[in-house]
């Protein structure tokens, strides 16, 4: 991959954002897709179906430490200077994250008129990439080792997880009592592309050496594992590669050979009449990578002082092939290996928790409600989100307010603080026209006013066909 492509890839997330957290959709039960964030969410309808490819569309990205504007501002500053400034400013704790999701289909229905059981199933495609800024490696690439003699470049800074997969899922929610709903969702993963380099350690250092000025030392335990990537790399660059890549990816949606299992758990509990507590654990699962696997490892140690010349060569040595022999020797001794060993990755599991207080005028235009708690028009509360990442969990906290404006329109606003942004104000609406529902949710609205300067952003939208309660059994 060309350097420019890599750089662009790192920055792309900032345009198509959201980094897994979906604070607006969580507990926004007017939107059926909220069941994907909590299988016990209080979605209340007879049945619904998402419009294929136009429901559950979500894209988001975030970065800590820089924005697109920092790099691509259309000004007089040289691009190389901007990159240099970034290399100095960013630290290995900074991250670039992007995620994307699109539903292929999504259907849900009540088990019977009582609403005791609610089932939902569907399939969606998801991309999630999470890259820690490769601090020392970026400095090495930008500066070289000159001026850094004696400094250890930490190979553990190579920490990348990226995956594209499809998820076939089936969820079941049961109303245990008037106060409690529990839900579970089983998931079948089909990996399309996976790149995994995490948990690496070691260093590269150049030191002064009495024998030949400098010695380069590598002590490494580094692995970059891929599945589904090599075959994409092998597609000829003849101008049609875009189509070919897309064709190849589509063929992997169900039968990639890299399969996994996972589950979501959730609950909705009403400790008091106007209070609701919800919690969920998502994507607790794994993917086993067995097809189209290519791994690169660097494990062991190696010192290189330079090229030792043996003047007056011994019998059998051919001075003409000196360099070639030496290269072979270095390649043999350098603990670098390519292999196709199968591997397993855990999915980045997520957890949500929320406390919600409902208040305001009761609406009483419908004949049936699942519970009394849905009759309030205002909800205010707080949510906690945690996603497990290679170097530890990342958390964000959200305060929200939602209101049913009219019979066909509900809105929700959020304020979220996380490491990407402390100015993240999001807003969303779910509007229904007849049986067709449209929703649009946008995180970090101030950032959207100038997306280039934003560190984070996320947009979700979709169309659903919803069949509400009609007043009798169906």
């Amino acid at each position: 991959m060309k350097l420019q492509h890599l750089l662009l890839l790192l920055c792309m997330p900032v345009f198509y954002i959201n980094a897994q957290n979906k604070p607006l959709l969580y507990d926004f039960t007017a939107i059926p897709q909220s069941l994907l964030l909590n299988p016990a969410a209080g979605v209340d309808n007879r049945w619904y179906a998402g419009v294929p490819l136009l429901s559950g569309v979500q894209a988001g990205a975030g970065s800590s430490g820089f924005s697109v504007y920092d790099l691509f501002a259309d000004d007089e500053v040289s691009f190389n200077d901007k990159v240099g400034k970034l290399v100095r400013r960013m630290s290995p704790g900074d991250v670039v994250s992007t995620s994307q999701q699109a539903e292929l289909f999504n259907i849900g229905f009540k088990g019977d008129w009582t609403g005791r059981d609610y089932y939902s199933f569907g399939m969606y495609q998801e991309t999630d990439a999470f890259v820690y800024w490769p601090g020392d490696l970026a400095v090495l690439a930008y500066d070289g080792n000159k001026g850094h003699i004696g400094e250890k470049f930490d190979l553990g800074h190579l920490d990348v997880t990226a995956e594209m997969l499809t998820v076939l899922h089936f969820g079941w929610r049961r109303k245990v009592s008037d106060r409690l709903k529990v839900g579970v969702r089983a998931k079948w993963y089909s990996g399309m592309v996976n790149i995994h380099a995490s948990g690496n350690s070691g260093y590269f250092v150049t030191e002064y050496d009495p024998v030949n000025f400098y010695v380069h030392r590598i002590l490494a335990d580094v692995a970059l594992r891929t599945s589904g990537y090599q075959s994409l790399e092998d597609i000829p660059r003849d101008g049609n590669e875009g189509k070919e890549v897309w064709k190849e990816l589509r063929s992997r949606m169900l039968f990639s050979g890299n399969f996994g299992l996972g589950m979501d758990l959730g609950l909705t509990y009403h400790p008091a009449k106007q209070w609701t507590v919800t919690a969920s654990l998502l994507d607790f699962g794994f993917v086993r990578h067995t097809e189209d696997v290519k791994n690169y490892t660097l494990k062991g140690s190696y010192d290189l002082e330079g090229v030792e010349l043996f003047l007056n060569p011994a019998e059998g040595e051919n001075p003409e092939e000196y360099w070639e022999d030496l290269k072979d020797k270095i390649e043999d001794q350098l603990p670098y290996e390519k292999n196709a060993r199968k591997y397993t990755t855990r999915r980045a599991y997520k957890m949500y928790g929320a406390v919600n207080y409902a208040f305001g005028i009761r609406r009483n235009k419908k004949r049936y409600y699942l519970t009394d708690y849905e009759n309030y028009i205002n909800n205010v509360g707080a949510q906690l989100f945690v996603v497990n990442r290679p170097k530890g969990p990342l958390a964000s906290i959200t305060a929200f307010y939602s209101r049913k404006l009219t019979g066909f329109l509900e809105t929700k606003v959020t304020y979220t603080a996380d490491r990407y942004s402390q100015t993240n104000i999001g807003g969303g609406l779910a509007a229904r026209m007849g049986n067709v529902q449209f929703y649009l949710l946008a995180d970090d609205i101030p950032g959207l006013l100038n997306l280039a300067k934003a560190n984070y952003g996320a947009v979700q939208f979709g169309f659903n066909y919803i069949f509400p309660h009609s007043g009798g059994p169906f």
Binding site: A73, N212, Y214, V307, P319, F438, L440, L451
Partner: protein
């Protein structure tokens, strides 16, 4: 206001606030200007220690010349005579010197594809340390695949050991962006060491060579 109208207005407002409408003052084509210019410092070729014995053994066909010399020192004139008797080669260096090393080795480092593509300038430093009691000269030349010398090469005069201190001699080769192509043609390296034909030399005295380079790379699309 009718519900249908409110609905349409809201949808339009949200759609118009979509990300693409909010990115006016950025230029993504700048990514094509990206050029990395790292500078890499590294050791190059080295000879750890080349003792008098190593040099002498290399001169005779049987490569056991040193063991034939019973004393710890040998006069250079006697050495010359001995070499003639044993059929040694390349005895006659310039200015009455004895040529003790004359070697050409394959060395393609600077013509590796990555180096050809990205090396823009280089500075090579060669350092010779000597504890020999006699003076001499070390010549190191970069040569192309046809054996032609590329540029002036390294030329270091060696002075005899003085007050027991190792003599250090240095030479530097500089390649700018105008002359770097010369270095990239390097296919082999030639090393020649001549020692003075008079005086005495200790069998355990040695020469050592080390070298380093500072390479300026230019990596762009």
């Amino acid at each position: 206001m009718p519900a249908r109208k409110i609905y349409r207005i809201l949808v339009m407002v949200f759609l118009c606030s979509a990300p693409g409408a909010c990115m006016k003052d950025v230029d993504f084509d700048q990514v094509n200007d990206l050029t990395l210019t790292p500078e890499v410092e590294t050791g190059l070729v080295y000879v750890d220690t080349l003792t008098t014995c190593d040099m002498l053994d290399g001169l005779a066909t049987e490569k056991t010349l040193c063991s034939l010399i019973p004393d710890e020192t040998i006069g250079m004139a006697e050495l010359h005579t001995l070499l003639e008797l044993l059929g040694g080669e390349n005895l006659n260096g310039p200015a009455g010197r004895i040529n003790v090393v004359d070697e050409e080795v394959g060395f393609n480092l600077f013509s590796e594809p990555y180096v050809i593509d990205h090396l823009e300038e280089a500075s090579l430093v060669f350092e010779v340390g000597s504890t020999l009691d006699v003076g001499g000269r070390l010549i190191l030349m970069m040569r192309d695949e046809n054996g032609n010398d590329l540029g002036e090469g390294v030329d270091i005069e060696l002075k005899p050991l003085s007050a027991g201190e190792e003599y250090i001699g240095r030479d530097t080769l500089e390649y700018s962006s105008e002359t770097i192509e010369q270095l990239k043609k390097t296919n082999r390296m030639y090393i020649r060491i001549d020692l003075d034909g008079s005086g005495e030399i200790d069998k355990n005295a040695y020469l050592r060579l080390k070298s380093m380079g500072v390479f300026g790379l230019n990596i762009k699309k």
